[in-house]
């Protein structure tokens, strides 16, 4: 299984190079991209099964001792998120193939290879057991995302792309400073060794390191007040790109936050995290209510939902962290499919502005269903996955006595439902608007709807499998908070 840990990172990157060579031969390119993503998703699934059965798998790259070399660590948390992330990229790639013939679609010659690079970066950042490799993995993801965001070279994309690039470059530079600070304080960048050494540092140094990385990872995760780049840049990109960004990029930030804060035992920052979580939820959803375009509304909801995961982390109990992990697993497919549904509207009507679209519930019932199911899940209504995840978080909050954040999270939930209703009333009810653009071919619409349908099934699967997932999330949370399983697995 140690080979698989390496393969899930290397395979997409190698395939990216090959696909780049075949980028103008569409059949070869699509088959290669899809089969690579399918294979890596399969490997990730096998890894999850193996890790669940036999425990954490550690790959020492080049056979170096963990103090000297790079380690890739696949514990249950990493394996679970890896599987969800790769499955999401696979679905989006399928959608992209359907969308390529439409005018709004992204250029597949660019998207296919770069999406594979992104997958490699996502795999590396989830698996790495080393702070500096995490920096490199983040850069890999970011460079891929810069290209995906701006490759069409339209004016709005360049304008918002600049903000996106500048803010993320600044965060990356801060990350580099953070690595220097940590190395100066502890003499290592290996996360397992850091888990042993950081709790021995003076309390002030610990808090300083914690705050520094809260800013670094918080910018990636788009927490309050570091989120302003997100609603500005995401809506300008083609649907495929926005879907993968919304589903994955911020969630990788949250994943790393959870990993770092639990491993370095930074629970003294819990109350601060709760304040940030509350503000992120409320301000995100308030921003969404002020918008009148489907993609912009959804972008603000990306921010709002991040608050829930930070809330789970901030509670710092097994139930809280388990809730955050479950929320992460639920959010990745839900956010992706919502943007895919938004993309279907845009493809059908030529715009996603609420005042120019209407009556889709009668004219396009399939899109209505594909939007309604994840929207209800996002708002947290039973029996969907959002309900399960939010129930877990609220339960953990009440058990820990953090009533304020529980109330805030419920209010934000109601506002989320209100905002989903706004989209529903605006786009799906009312007068049927004639499409402003010529209809896409039936085949490409079919492929796109199939891809979105698979993603909807994924979100429902999270709710159906909650009985299996929840004990797994609890086990993950217990291991994360105990810290010793990770440390002993890496250091041996």
């Amino acid at each position: 299984m140690t080979v698989v840990v390496g393969l899930v990172v290397v395979l997409p990157l190698l395939a990216a190079a090959v696909v780049l060579g075949f980028r103008h031969r569409s059949a070869v390119r699509d088959v290669l991209t899809l089969s690579t993503m399918a294979a890596t998703t399969g490997l990730a699934a096998a890894l999850l099964v193996a890790v669940d059965r036999d425990g954490t798998v550690v790959l020492r790259v080049g056979g170096w001792a963990p103090e000297l070399g790079i380690v890739l660590v696949a514990d249950l948390f990493a394996a679970l998120i890896l599987l969800v992330a790769f499955a999401t990229i696979l679905v989006v790639e399928l959608f992209a193939i359907g969308q390529r013939r439409t005018p709004a679609g992204a250029d597949p010659a660019v998207v296919s290879p770069i999406l594979l690079v992104l997958a490699g970066g996502v795999g590396l950042s989830i698996l790495t057991g080393d702070l500096f490799t995490l920096f490199v993995a983040f850069e890999l993801i970011l460079v891929a995302s810069y290209v995906l965001l701006t490759h069409q070279g339209r004016e709005a994309q360049i304008r918002s792309g600049m903000t996106y690039v500048v803010i993320n470059l600044f965060a990356s530079t801060l990350f580099l400073f953070g690595v220097a600070i940590v190395y100066a304080a502890t003499g290592t960048v290996n996360m397992a060794l850091l888990a042993e050494r950081i709790p021995e540092l003076p309390a002030a140094t610990q808090v300083g390191i914690g705050l520094w990385f809260l800013v670094v990872f918080g910018t990636k995760a788009a927490i309050f007040p570091l989120f302003s780049w997100l609603p500005d840049s995401y809506p300008t990109a083609p649907t495929t790109i926005t879907a993968v960004f919304a589903g994955l990029l911020t969630k990788i930030g949250v994943y790393v936050l959870i990993r770092f804060f639990t491993l370095m035992e930074l629970d003294q920052l819990g109350p601060l995290l709760l304040v940030i979580a509350g503000l992120t939820m409320v301000i995100g959803v308030a921003g969404a209510l002020a918008q009148d375009d489907v993609k912009r509304i959804l972008s603000f909801h990306v921010v709002s939902q991040i608050g829930y995961m930070i809330m789970g982390l901030g509670i710092f109990t097994v139930a809280g962290v388990a809730g955050a992990v479950l929320f992460l697993v639920h959010q990745i497919p839900v956010k992706t499919v919502m943007f895919l549904a938004g993309g279907l509207i845009e493809d059908d009507q030529g715009t996603s502005a609420l005042n120019k679209v209407g009556g889709l519930a009668t004219s396009r019932p399939v899109i209505a269903v594909l939007f309604a199911l994840p929207a209800l899940s996002l708002a947290g209504l039973p029996p969907f996955s959002g309900f399960v995840a939010k129930l877990a978080l609220v339960d953990a909050g009440v058990a820990a006595g953090d009533y304020v954040i529980v109330v805030v999270s419920l209010v934000a939930s109601i506002l989320t439902l209100l905002s989903m209703t706004k989209i529903w009333v605006g786009a799906f009810w009312g007068e049927v608007t004639p499409a402003a653009v010529p209809a896409s071919s039936r085949r490409s619409v079919g492929v796109m709807q199939t891809a979105a349908g698979i993603a909807v099934l994924g979100t429902i699967a999270v709710a159906v499998l909650a009985g299996v997932l929840w004990p797994m999330c609890e086990e993950i949370a217990a291991d994360l908070l105990a810290r010793t399983p990770y440390v002993t697995a890496v250091l041996g």
Binding site: E155, M162, F177, A180
Partner: protein, 161 residues
């Protein structure tokens, strides 16, 4: 960590941050170059005192420098070099599209600014009406104005002095 190193890192970071906050992308690129240098120097300083070259004939020497920060620095330099080129390409594209390389306000800022202008215009108008009413004499003119003036936002703070 020597004092000279601290001053160098602080100076580079301060100048770099100042440049990054400016609007012109070419200044931002320079800012990131300086910030990158600051980060690399900080990484080097984190390895402790300077010493002999770390990679020698295999013999262990007591006074060698720590090689790890140097390896990290090299990686960081390569990455920042690539990204600098990317940002320059972005600036060039922006120049082709709009004739300059300024980072523009985001959509939300522009909407808020437009709304503020609307409010300001509305409050100017109501104030003019009130002043004419307070004069008492110019009733006709005031009514006339009131008929024409469609107040877009008759909120209470619009009438505040």
């Amino acid at each position: 960590m020597s004092v000279a190193m601290i001053i160098a890192v602080a100076g580079l970071a301060a100048t770099g941050t100042f440049l990054v906050t400016s609007r012109s992308l070419s200044r931002i690129v320079l800012g990131f170059a300086l910030l990158g240098h600051a980060a690399v120097l900080a990484l080097l300083a984190s390895g402790g005192r300077a010493g002999d070259p770390p990679i020698v004939d295999g013999a262990v020497r007591p006074d060698t420098a720590n090689p790890l920060p140097q390896a990290l620095s090299l990686t960081a330099i390569v990455i920042s070099f690539g990204l600098t080129l990317y940002v320059l390409a972005l600036a060039r594209r922006q120049q082709i599209l709009t004739g300059d390389d300024l980072v523009e306000d985001d959509v939300e800022d522009r909407r808020i600014a437009a709304y503020a202008e609307l409010r300001a215009a509305a409050s100017d108008e109501t104030r003019a009406i009130e002043e004419q009413h307070e004069d008492g004499s110019g009733g006709d003119a005031g009514d006339d104005r009131n008929d024409r003036g469609h107040d877009p936002d008759p909120s209470p703070d619009g009438t505040l002095p």
